[in-house]
Every structure is written in structure tokens, then in C-alpha cells.
């Protein structure tokens, strides 16, 4: 069984190989990169908007400043390859620690099988954004807390600095604080190492305030309870789609195993709120799946042994060596052949040159804002993925215009929109063509229209 101790490393290597070969191209990657670039060039934190024509100068949260610098640093060092390698490394870190947590609860075959499914579900969040740091730190912290609960309480010393780092990397640190609070609550209720866990929770909470512009716990809670539903990843899970279905399987397996074999107080304290969080938005589904992995793996293995008590899961050494060599080759091949450059077919690439050559206020598709910030920095955007900056007025006005609600024309004039860059099926595009706006650029993805001169 000792050979299975290499399993976390193997899972991490496999995750790295898969993650590095995934193409980038998330719209938010671009504005995070641009933010990092601005901070490096100006030697200061980006505290106000500099990218839009609608809220220019408005203050906004800089809670993810370190995450943005991290991504931009990777870009400076290695271009898009650097970004992809950072992504793969963070995912490998997450995979490594979640496998370790699962192996504490179940024999390797069960732990690995459930971990693999959880990681497959988490793929929906493997985008080049600061949230990747949360993906790495959540399993790390979970492993740390589980190890501390198992007797290595001194590990809790790491919690406050970890929370401090996380707070500056990504708003998901609230999840980390919740994790520490849950373990502390269980420790207090059962009077097992209550003081060290409580101290870690309090100092961790204090550390989370050491951030130049944290989202704040209130904002994090507000985000969780009223997510912007029109963004796909913020929509509720759809269990009739692949990712939602896998999430549902985790939820139902947890329920079935809870009915079959019960659980501990910690299981209930941990999994019940995380299930709610997963149900609240698609982007939160993986965290429930990751936390439920040891519980499900442990439960299934227990049932297995009731059925086949004599089972043994030893692997011959040549197999271990062979798999390891295969993974090394897989990582090398992935790095060598990965399409590091982001896929930009969903963006208005054909209109880029025309956009750069023209001027005036631009009304752009929401999903393209980040891309334009990075690729056409000469043209401030109307709106982009930094959503909260644009709530509520700009987003409302954007929708009024794009979906042609009454008053759309007045809004167009009020914002002095000179050009419109939208998908061809938008009602506004149809109407503006009728009104004689000039087509500057057109392809299947985007249409760039110019206001007629008066």
C-alpha cells in the first residue's frame, strides 16, 4: 500500500498535463492582465477605473491585486505559455492536496476515482483568473485543517499567513475563512483542540483585513446570496447539463451515504453549507465536490468492504514506475504541444484594426469588454466583466440599448455612442442598420457600426 503514497503526485502530474493543454481565452483574463500591467507600469495599486468610457475614475475593489500581479508576472516571464504554466501549476497544487485529503479517508482506488470525478467537475473553473489561486488554496487549507484535527495542531500556525496571502489573491478567501470557522466550531463543540482552532480562526479573520481593498466579508456574502444570474457561471446549476449532472451526483451520493452510514458532526458542519453554496451558483459547485470527495470515497470503500471484505489493492512496483514514467512523458508532451495562445474566435478579431483606427465612445458586447481592454487599449470600453463597477446604472443602460427597450435611442445619444460593436443577432444592430448606421466591419461573430455623420 505504501506505493499509493505517490498517488497525490501522480494525480497532480496528470492534472498539470491536462490543464496546460487547455486553450485560454476567458474574457476576464484580459482585464486581469491589463490591471496587472497597469500596476506594474505605474508602480501603484489600481484603485480606480482606467479602462471604460462610462465609469472612468470610479473607485473599485483592488482585493485581487496580488492575483492580478501574479498572472501578469507569469505573462511577462513566459507570454501566454507563462499564463498556461501558472494555471497548470495551481491546478496541480489543488489536485495534489485534495488527493491527500481523500487518501486520509479511503483506500487509494476509491480516493483516486472520486477525486478524478471531482477534478473533472472543477474543470469549469480552470480559467486564467485569480480564482485559480482559490482552487489551489482551498484543498491545501482543507488538508492542513484535517491534518491538524488528526493530531498535528502545530500546523494551524500556517493558517493566518495563508489567509493573509489568499485575501490579497482572490475574493474566494471568504471560503477559506468559512472552512477554518467550521473546523473551529467543531473543535469547540466537541472540546477537541478547541483553543488552537479558535485561535487560528480569530487570527485568520484578523489577517483577512490586511488587504488594501478587500472585497470584505459582507460583499462576499452578498455575492453568494444574490449572484448576477445573467452571467453563466453565476447561474444556478443545471443538473441536466454535464457539469451540473456531476455536481448532482456528488450531492445525491452524499445524501445516500449519509442515509446509509451517517456521518460525523464535522461532516455535517462542512458539507451542508457547502452544498448550499454549490446550489447557489455554478462556479461554486467544485468546492462542494472537493470537500465531499473524502466523505464519498470513505463511504463507498466502507460499503465495498462490507461486500468484499477480503479485497486488497496492492500494486506491483513495475506498475508504479511505469505509470510514473508515463505521466512524466505526458507532462512533457503536453507542455511541448500545448496551444498556449488563447483561442479568440469568439471575439471580434476582424474589427480590431478598424476599432484601433477610429475614435469616439464605443458600445461593446459585455463579454468582449475584457478582450478589448487588452487588445485595443486605445478604445475605452462601455462595459466589461468587472461587473460590480457597472452596477446598477451602466448595466441597466447597456441592456436598454442592446435589447432595445423604450428609451434606447436617448441612451445612445446621452452616452454619445459613436460606434457599436455587437453580435449580429442583437435587436439594436437590426434597428441601427435600419436607421442608416454604417457597417464598418462585419463577420459571423461581430458587427461594427458607425453612427452616420449629421
Amino acid at each position: 500500500m505504501t506505493a499509493w503514497r505517490l498517488a497525490p503526485l501522480y494525480v497532480a502530474a496528470a492534472s498539470f498535463a491536462i490543464a496546460v493543454s487547455l486553450p485560454g481565452g476567458d474574457p476576464d483574463t484580459y482585464w486581469h492582465l491589463a490591471s496587472g500591467k497597469w500596476m506594474v507600469e505605474h508602480g501603484q495599486l489600481l484603485r480606480a477605473d482606467v479602462f471604460s468610457n462610462t465609469v472612468n475614475g470610479a473607485p473599485y475593489s483592488v482585493g485581487e491585486w496580488l492575483g492580478e500581479l501574479g498572472i501578469y508576472g507569469a505573462y511577462v516571464l513566459g507570454g501566454w505559455a507563462g499564463v498556461a504554466l501558472l494555471r497548470a501549476t495551481l491546478i496541480a497544487v489543488g489536485a495534489f492536496f485534495i488527493t491527500r485529503v481523500a487518501l486520509r479517508a479511503a483506500p487509494a482506488p476509491f480516493a483516486l476515482a472520486i477525486t478524478a470525478v471531482a477534478l473533472a467537475l472543477s474543470e469549469i473553473t480552470w480559467t486564467d483568473r485569480p480564482q485559480l489561486f482559490t482552487f489551489a488554496l482551498f484543498p491545501l487549507l482543507l488538508e492542513l485543517l484535517v491534518a491538524a484535527r488528526a493530531g498535528r495542531a502545530r500546523l494551524l500556525v500556517v493558517v493566518p499567513p495563508l489567509i493573509l496571502l489568499w485575501t490579497n489573491l482572490h475574493g474566494g478567501y471568504a471560503l477559506g475563512l468559512a472552512l477554518v470557522a467550521i473546523f473551529a466550531a467543531e473543535a469547540v463543540l466537541t472540546r477537541r483542540n478547541a483553543m488552537p482552532f479558535a485561535a487560528a480562526a480569530f487570527i485568520g479573520l484578523a489577517a483577512s483585513f490586511v488587504d488594501p481593498g478587500s472585497l470584505g466579508l459582507g460583499a462576499a456574502a452578498a455575492h453568494a446570496t444574490s449572484p448576477p444570474r445573467f452571467i453563466v457561471e453565476e447561474a444556478p446549476p443545471d443538473v441536466l447539463r454535464p457539469a451540473g449532472f456531476v455536481f448532482a451526483l456528488f450531492g445525491l451520493a452524499t445524501l445516500a451515504l449519509a442515509l446509509a452510514r451517517g456521518g460525523t458532526l464535522l461532516d455535517a458542519l462542512l458539507l451542508v453549507p457547502l452544498l448550499w453554496l454549490g446550489l447557489s451558483a455554478q462556479r461554486h459547485m467544485p468546492y462542494f465536490a472537493l470537500a465531499a470527495t473524502p466523505y464519498i470515497a470513505g463511504g463507498i470503500s466502507e460499503l465495498w468492504w462490507r461486500w468484499r471484505p477480503a479485497s486488497r489493492f496492492a500494486l506491483p512496483r513495475p506498475v508504479i514506475v511505469g505509470v510514473g514514467a508515463g505521466l512524466v512523458a505526458m507532462v512533457a508532451a503536453s507542455v511541448a504541444t500545448a496551444p498556449f495562445a488563447p483561442i479568440e474566435t469568439q471575439y471580434p478579431t476582424a474589427a480590431r484594426a478598424k476599432l484601433a483606427d477610429s475614435s469616439g465612445n464605443l458600445l461593446n458586447e459585455y463579454d468582449w469588454g475584457g478582450y478589448l481592454i487588452w487588445r485595443v487599449p486605445e478604445r475605452p470600453v462601455f462595459i466589461d466583466g468587472r461587473l460590480f463597477l457597472f452596477l446598477p446604472d451602466v448595466l441597466t443602460e447597456y441592456e436598454e440599448m442592446v435589447f432595445m427597450r423604450p428609451g434606447w435611442h436617448d441612451q445612445l445619444d446621452r452616452h454619445a455612442i459613436a460606434q457599436v460593436l455587437l453580435r449580429p443577432d442583437r435587436p439594436l444592430v437590426v434597428a441601427l442598420r435600419d436607421l442608416g448606421w454604417t457597417v464598418v466591419s462585419e463577420d459571423k461573430t461581430a458587427l461594427l457600426l458607425q453612427r452616420p455623420s449629421r
Binding site: D238, A258, L265, A268, L279, S280, R405, V430
Partner: protein
Amino acid sequence: MRPILVVPLVLAGLAAFAATRAPVSDSDFFWHLAIGRDIAAHGVPRVDVYSWTVAGRAVLPDQWLGELLLYVAYAIGSWSGTIALRALTVGTLIGVIVFAALAERPRRPFIAVLASLPAIAVSRFAWTDRPELFGLLCFAILIALLRAVRRGSLTAFTLCVPLILVWANLHGSFALGLGLVLVVALERAVVDPSRRRRYAAIAIASVLATFFTPSGLATWTSSGGHFLTPPRFVQEEGTPDVTTVPGLLFSVALLSTLATAMLAPRARSREVLFEIAVLVPVAFVSLTATRHLVFFPIAAAPFLTSWSPDAFAEGIRILREAWAERLPMINARRTTNAAVHETNAGTRTLGRIVIAEAAAALIALALLIGGIATAPREPDLSAFPAAALPQLPAGPGLLNRYDWGGFLIWYAPATPVFVDGRLFPYVGEALDDYRAVIGLHADWRQVLAKRGIRTVLVAPSDAIAVQGTALGWPILARTPEWVMLRVP
């Protein structure tokens, strides 16, 4: 000990009364009513007669009995009849939910009510005048029957067959009921092998019962379509959202069930399979669409009644073990309460129980009658373009908003609709064309010409209304809620 019916009856009466407070207003109700009228007059319809876009196309009469019931209630008592039917159904639904929970712990009515609260509250969102409400009642009855099956009643399992037969003719949700019957039959066969053949016979009879509908095998297509590919653009078919009130109530039931299952002692090995067989599939179905959220809290109420006291006791035990020397009072209090409870139960007499139940039944009846007597007499049409009715052109050519189709079918039978809440007949070309015009897609002009649309009756905020107004189309009528434009 049989459950005492006082609490279910009183709650049923209160729910029935509450259900009479709202006027008739559901947009789908009107087309159900129209179909019910046609069934009463001409038999079960097989083709569409209400639209001009899919006129003559085959339609599925999968809810014919529910629609007939709605129309009979209307024919007897006009809109008050509709409300009376709604109140009676809701009252029975709530009564059955609480009864099924109470049956698990007849001496703990407070826990039964507490466990039923999420189900009662979330069911409020399904108190509409549609066959769906009858389907929900069937589901609650099925859960009560299956719980009785778990307690050993073969009669209850046999009664599932006629229930499925009626349900299959009332509403498409029968598929969930049949699924549960099959799963429980399998579970019973494992737990109680001596009756394996009887369980198999009941399962087969239940499957066959679903074929005794005017649609035969085709009845399944409606359930399958809704379940596998729910039309997400319809609000009630959207993905369940736990940040909304119904979603929150559902999550309370789901998370309570999970926490209870984790903490309750595990000495129930023979019961566990039944709970898994019922709760896990229903939880999945509930997660598929907002309108399905209600199923899980109903299924979970008896479970929570049965298991949650044990889970609570386990929580106390954990605390006691950890904090014994600091919280010595917990043990004493629980003993005292249990002793009082047992004493009270022992002094009840059958006569007093019957009198109490009769009084509760009278209260429930009074609430039902009082509610119906004081219910709104007329439907609330504020959400519909009622003032546009006199100006609607007869014959084909109207493009109406989806939500208003049912209203127009009932109130403007001379003007066939473009689309309405029956949805499935329109899926494909008709629905695509509707979206193209109302959302001003690139091909909207071609669709307008191809379909021969002469008038549009839409909301002023719809893109076609904004564009039509900008293009100078004649406005036939307008209010802040709707606008009727003539297409030049």
C-alpha cells in the same frame, strides 16, 4: 397507534382558506379551461384548434381529466367553482402532507408540523388552477401510501395502481410517481423477499395503468420532454435558484435532510434502503426545474419527522459528552419532558379523540366554506391585455405575447393565437418565428412577411414594439402594460 387527525384537518382547513384568497389569474388556466370545455362538448381533442400557426397539428391530450375537472368546477360555480376546486385540492394536499409526516411519529404532532413546513410553504407556489395541482396532490398521496408500505401495508401498495391510473390522466407528473413505485417495489423485494411476486405484480400493473389514457404510449412523451429538455425560457421550467424563496425553502428541506441523515444514529439498516430509494431520486427530479422543487420537501417531511428527533438527540449526546461537567441540566430536562409526554398520551381516550377530530373536521369545513363564500368573484385580468379585446381582429394574423395566449384562447375565441402556454405544439418553426419577431432578430422582416402577421399585441418594452413604434406603425391601442400595433 394511529395518527390523530386533529392537526392535519385544522391545517388543511387553514390552507384551503388561504387558497381562496387569490383570484383566478394564471395564464395557463384559461387554455386548460378551454380544452376542458371542448372535452365536455366534443370529447378529447386530438388536433390544435386555437392557434393559426399550428392549426390542425396533432396535440397530446395528456391532461384531459384534469382539464375536464377544471371545466366542470367552472360550469358548476363559475369562477367561484374554480376557486372552490383549488381550495379543496390545496386543503387535501396539505392535510395529506401533514398526515404522512404525523404517521411516522403519531405522538409528536409538533415535529410533524415543523417537518412539513417547508413542503407547505413551497407548495404555495403551485396553488394554481392547473392540472399540475392535481398531480401534486397525487404525489403527496403516493408518498403517504409508500410510507405505509414501508410500515408493512400491502394494501397501501396495491392502492398505488389506481392512483397511477388516475394520475396518468390528470397530469404528466405521473412519471415521477411510477418511477417511485418501481424503485420501492425493488426495495421491498430486497427487504421483504417473501412477498417478491406481489411487489412485482404491483409494479407491472402500475406500468400498465399508465397506458390507459387517450394518448396511450404517447402520454410518456410529454413527461419525457419536460423532464429531459425543460424549456428553460419559461420561468417555472428554469433551473432551481436557492436564493429565491421557493429555492430557499427547498434547500431548507434538502439540507435538513442531509444534516439529519448524517447525525441520526445508524441502527436503522432495514429502513435506510427505503429512504434512499425515495429521497435520492426525488431530490434529483426536484433539482431539474423550479416547478419540481416542491416534490422533495413533500417526500422529506415524513423522513424528517421520523429521524430528526434522533439526530437532535445525537447532537445533544455529542455536546453532553464534550461538555458534561459544564452542562449537567440537559439530561434531566429531557427525561422530564419524555415522562410528561408519555403520561399525556396514556390518558387520552378514544372518545375524546373522536370528538376532537370531529371538531377539527368541522373547523376545516367551516374554513373551506367561509373561504369560498368570501373569495374573489371575478378573475384578476390585470396582467392581460383585457382592454384590447374589442379591437382584436378576427381570423389569423395576430402575433401575441406568449404569456397572453391562454387568455386570448378563452376570451377571444374568434382570434386564433400565434403562440400560447401549451408550448410543445409550437416548438420548432413557430416558436423560432415568434422569437425572431418579438426579439427583433436579423430575419424578423422575412418572418413577418412569411407568416402574414397583420397585428402585434406585445409589451411596450418588447423590441418589436419599440421598433414598430419607431417605424411609425399605427398604434391601435396602448396602455403601460401592452401595445397593439398594425403591421403596414
